[in-house]
């Protein structure tokens, strides 16, 4: 019980519940089921992106091009749907996913096989992808009346009372949990992040693992690109501008160390939920929206400060070390 309470995920979950309760006391409308369901729907895209970003950050990398990939895949799927309205929806979604995957694999190739620093590579592809959104669309908007109705309707359509977005996010959480905890691919990513040179000695194909971890991040951004465009029923050049930092912030709040090798699916989900709760609560308690960015920043700083306090003993121990004083890399 004590160990459970000491876990960051539990603390974060308690924080979120407390926050929701506090806001609920000020404004009871916030804790009605409808409002909470909205909150959940609003947080889905952030959750899905944070999970993919987590798998990248765990390898000591970072994907700054995520929001640009999202924008490019979203714009291309919107253009595709507007140009060929007869195309079945799943083809459009697959196209968005595929585009994202290709863009992610470009990152992955440069980082994995050419051994270039992730922050520089994704900084470069970030500008290139964002520029290509403009080139493809000619700077014009694709608005809702140009898109086929089922293209726009899908994300918010309901299945068993929950929106499709929530179901997709739930599936993503399950998949990410499986990949991170139980697949060899996922465990290799943790190994690479913890100690790259040891990972190489034990024969982990680092380049291939990195290639696919960025590919996965791109594919997720592609899928979210379609969902984003369809949900807000508009595609334009500036879509999701700056969102990569929100995603990284969600990961950091969730206790995923930027130094690599440590982080959990629950952490990424809770970090995203935390940011979403703050975002949705501010208007409800009549805090001016201008405060949102400042409060988010303060939350991020507080989270990393707490991280630094807790994380002094280093990365998460996967196997117990008998008779050894565990000293992992500093978070």
């Amino acid at each position: 019980m004590k160990a459970l309470l000491k876990m960051r995920e539990t603390q974060l979950a308690l924080c979120i519940v407390a926050l929701i309760a506090l806001v609920g006391v000020r404004a009871p409308v916030f804790i009605t089921p409808g409002s909470l369901a909205n909150l959940l729907t609003d947080s889905t895209l952030l959750i899905m992106l944070a999970l993919a970003q987590m798998l990248v950050i765990v390898t000591r990398g970072v994907d700054l091009s995520m929001a640009s990939t999202l924008a490019l895949a979203g714009m291309m799927s919107a253009l595709l749907a507007a140009r060929f309205p007869a195309l079945p929806l799943f083809v459009v979604v697959l196209a968005a996913l595929g585009i994202g995957l290709v863009l992610g694999l470009v990152n992955g190739y440069l980082i994995g096989y050419l051994d270039l620093p992730p922050i520089v590579v994704t900084l470069g592809t970030m500008s290139v992808y964002r520029g290509m959104v403009f080139v493809l669309s000619g700077g014009a908007w694709v608005s809702s009346h140009q898109m086929p109705p089922e293209f726009v309707a899908f994300p918010l359509a309901r299945l068993l009372g929950m929106t499709h977005l929530v179901w997709l996010a739930a599936l993503t959480v399950l998949a990410a949990w499986y990949v991170a905890r139980h697949s060899r691919f996922g465990r290799d990513l943790y190994a690479i992040g913890n100690e790259p040179s040891s990972a190489r000695y034990v024969g982990i194909p680092i380049a291939r693992r990195l290639l696919w971890s960025y590919g996965l991040s791109g594919a997720m951004a592609g899928l979210c690109g379609y969902l984003w465009v369809a949900r807000y029923a508009v595609a334009y050049t500036e879509i999701a501008y700056g969102f990569e930092f929100t995603v990284i912030a969600a990961c950091v709040i969730g206790g995923i160390s930027i130094a690599g090798g440590c982080g959990s699916v629950a952490g990424a989900v809770l970090g995203s939920l935390f940011l979403a709760v703050i975002g949705n609560a501010l208007p409800v308690v009549k805090v001016s929206p201008f405060w949102q960015s400042a409060l988010t920043g303060i939350v991020i700083l507080a989270a990393v400060l707490i991280n630094a306090r807790n994380g002094k003993q280093g990365g998460r121990q996967i196997l117990p070390l008998h008779g050894l004083n565990p000293t992992g890399p500093a978070a």
């Binding site: 970072v62 700054l64 440069l110 096989y113 050419l114 051994d115 270039l116 620093p117 922050i119 520089v120 590579v121 900084l123 470069g124 592809t125 970030m126 500008s127 290139v128 992808y129 964002r130 520029g131 290509m132 403009f134 080139v135 700077g139 680092i206 380049a207 050049t237 501008y241 700056g242 930092f245 990284i248 912030a249 950091v252 930027i258 130094a259 001016s288 201008f290 405060w291 949102q292 960015s293 400042a294 409060l295 988010t296 920043g297 303060i298 991020i300 700083l301 990393v304 400060l305 630094a308 500093a330």
Partner: protein, 327 residues
């Protein structure tokens, strides 16, 4: 040459092939190529007044890039510079609206910037946090505070002296911002390359632990560099606000990535310990020439981001591809 671990090799003499393979020489060639191509393709390219005005596009960013070079050499990074710039601009606007004398505005901007940089530096050094995470957090704090103060308003009505420095000329032809940039570039180059202070920055970037053991107060250097970056962002905020004559919450949005691109394109290693001011200034001029050429050719500004991105990727990927290093 026989090497043993008791011998320390002398500095290599001048070798023409080694000199040609350096990032600075490649950039200089690229700059020359861009310049020549532009002057053939664009009839008005060599118009001196236009050329001088073209420097406005990059002067403020380059002013922030200079201290960023030192930070990145030192293995740190500051994502929050555009937020600092915005907050400095807001502080000036607020002071100006509340009757501060015009000559107080520059100190206010620089003090605001230094204070912001100090916050970054304290969080990084005192609490041992990674600078990328800290500055992702502080950028939303700084920009958030700006938007809290500004709301959906804008500050305008700045005194003439700011316009003089932001958009004015020396001798009616040389933009003052450009002169300021050149002066600071010279200052930073001397500091980094000719003083023991600069050598220690390289030492920290190459191996912080060894640097600490050799008696360098590593954390103090880091703190000072963050404050310096903040101060320069404040100065750039003063110039930019003077140039455009107003402060809005989205002022200098997205600049941090352009600035970091300049630094990396200039050959500063993101892993720390390597890089020169000359290289970064060459990158600044190359980007400036390309931007200026594209804008003369009426190419929309966003194409520029593609060009910058590809340049960045090509300059770091090409050496690897050419050396055939594959695993």
């Amino acid at each position: 040459m026989p090497t043993s671990r008791y011998a320390i090799a002398d500095r290599q003499g001048f070798r023409i092939r080694a000199a040609l393979a350096r990032r600075e020489s490649l950039l200089a060639l690229l700059l020359l190529a861009a310049f020549i191509a532009n002057s053939f393709l664009l009839p008005n390219f060599l118009d001196l007044d236009n050329l001088a005005d073209g420097t406005f596009n990059f002067s403020e960013k380059a002013l922030i890039a200079l201290p960023m070079v030192l930070l990145i050499i030192c293995r740190e990074i500051d994502i929050s510079v555009s937020g600092i710039l915005a907050l400095a601009s807001v502080a000036m606007g607020w002071a100006n609206a509340n009757g501060a004398p015009p000559e107080a505005l520059l100190p206010i901007a620089i003090a605001t910037g230094t204070l912001c940089g100090c916050l970054n530096g304290v969080l990084v050094t005192r609490y041992g946090l990674p600078s990328i995470v800290v500055t992702i957090g502080t950028v939303s704090v700084f920009r958030g505070l700006s938007s809290v103060v500004l709301g959906d308003q804008a500050y305008t009505g700045y005194p003439q002296v700011m316009a003089d420095w932001g958009q004015g000329y020396f001798f009616d032809s040389i933009p003052r911002e450009f002169v300021i940039l050149l002066a600071f570039a010279a200052l930073f180059a001397v500091m980094l390359h000719a003083t023991s202070w600069g050598r220690r920055i390289y030492a920290i970037g190459n191996n912080p632990v060894a640097a600490r053991f050799s008696g360098i107060a590593v954390d103090r250097y880091r703190l000072v560099l963050f404050m310096l970056t903040g101060a320069m962002a404040g100065l750039a905020g003063y110039l930019l606000t003077g140039r455009i004559g107003s402060t809005r919450p989205n002022i200098a949005m997205g600049w941090e990535l352009e600035i970091i691109t300049m630094v990396i394109l200039g050959g500063v290693s993101i892993a720390g310990g390597a890089g020169t001011i000359a290289g970064v200034m060459l990158a600044v001029f190359t980007l400036g020439t390309v931007t200026y050429g594209l804008s003369l050719a009426n190419v929309p500004g966003i194409y520029m981001t593609i060009v910058i991105g590809i340049l960045l990727l090509a300059t770091i990927a090409l050496p690897r591809l050419l050396s055939g290093r594959k695993k």
